[in-house]
Amino acid sequence: MSIDQDVLKLPHDQIEQIQLDGIKKTAVRVYENVPFYKNSFDEARFNPYEINSLDDLSKAPFITKQDLRDNYPYKLFAVPMEDVLEIHMSSGTTGIATVGGYTKHDLDIWGECFGRGVTYADGGPKDIVHVCYGYGLFTGGLGAHYGGLCSGATTIPMSAGNTERQIRVLKEMGSTIICCTPSYAMHIADTAIEMGLDPAKDFHLRAGIHGAEPFSDNFRADLEKKLNYKVLDVYGLTECMGPGVAIECMEQTGLHLAEDHFYAEIIDPATGKNLPDGEWGELVLTSVDREAQPVIRYRTKDITRIIPGECACGRTHRRIDRLHGRTDDMMIIRGVNVFPSQIEDVMETFDDVSSWYQIELSTKNSLDVVTLKAEVNPGFDLDSVASIENLQNSIQAKLKTALAVGIKVKLVEPKSIPRSTGKAKRVIDLRKENEK
């Protein structure tokens, strides 16, 4: 097996033609075979037989995670059960799991999409792909596994856990590309160092394809230093296949979407209206050619943007930016959409405050007031009122530039921001209370 390199460099209008041809068929197929789509298209007066351009798709109704749950387990399948070869499930943190079904064709696409990550890491049949995502219902393990196979690389199905054995294999068997969550990669690196190894020298890694959880630029830099390799971010979700929907190339300037299989839109999560390239909003995905369980306009709740322009690597598939959190975390402050991750980006640049901060939203004279509380770090010269006020003011100024909305910064005492299981509750919204 190998990855089709030509399709990655197709002129974009040809990619769009592939998308339009695929979506026309897919939309009709789900309309005729899946009662959910029949109802939702009819309700929205969307005619799947009259899609003449990709823009027409913006008239189609959305499908949400709740719709997937409501149709648990198989009601969204668009093929007979005998054509479904594999099932995956996402862990239902809020109750019912969401199910993904795959035909032979769907599994091939999945392998192809994830396998592109191996290509992006300049890898191929000569590589050894070490997969230590968990194997099982979770899409990480088998997705990476199919990707490794499709790329032609030797694939080692380590699964997660037994870190000492992972380290032995990484050292002795010459793995060149590792696929796992970023936090597990860090755990492997730290454990190896504790064991007296220098993973930067003792391992043979060239790249890591890491996803399934967010990680900061600092975290990435730290990983790259410890393991002496390049970290490529991978995006995907069980509802739309699994990891491989988009993967970074070695340029590390955004994740190339697998545009011949997914059509991406960015919408304003508050209004549902499409946003132009470059603007941050919610990613909406449509399957171009998935068979078992295609989605038309699935709201991912993930915040990103389409990066305008072409990638230096020469591949023509458009890129999404690294995720900026979830729409659930989005705040609307005086009409401006603000994501906690934008605030985190600013806070990271100040050494004098800790990473524990909290945002309090309240209302004063019917205007939103945002107060950001941040803990002062030890070592900060806090002897004068002015030095503290200067720090508050410089954080405030930087936030204002980054968010285009004013936030009042209030420095607080250490550990005064409550920690719940190691994670801070970042946002407290008192606006409804204030209205009473």
């Binding site: 030890p378 010269d381 806090l382 004068s384 009122v385 503290i388 005492e413 250490p414």
Partner: protein, 142 residues
Amino acid sequence: MIDQITVFLENKEGRLLALCRCIGDAGVNMHAMTIAESADFGLVRIICDDPQKALEALNAADFRANKTKVVGIVVPNRPGGVADLLEILDDLNLNIEYGYCFSINNDEAADVFKIHGDAESAGAAFKLEEAGFKVLSQEDLA
């Protein structure tokens, strides 16, 4: 020169009490305490008999506390005593960030100044001693 402990406190009920209790439980005796405040927070400045011990106790209790060198001068118990002192400092063209006063015993009081810059602070202490003032050292407060 003496060591002053500065503690950053939010304007929240009970924090000052917690601070004083923490120092007291550590067996440290306070000579002076002042509060500089803004709308949102306060800075509590403390002169005590064992600043190092106070600092360790405060850090252990998750207070954000610093140790700062300040100049403490015994003020003569007579009219114009403080004015004489300030005259000397005035001639030195220093930048005094803040100052306050506390009584050492029934007869004597001390003025505390935070002077910008370590060299300037030491220079001022020297000039004051030269002019006959008693400049306090930490041992004087133990």
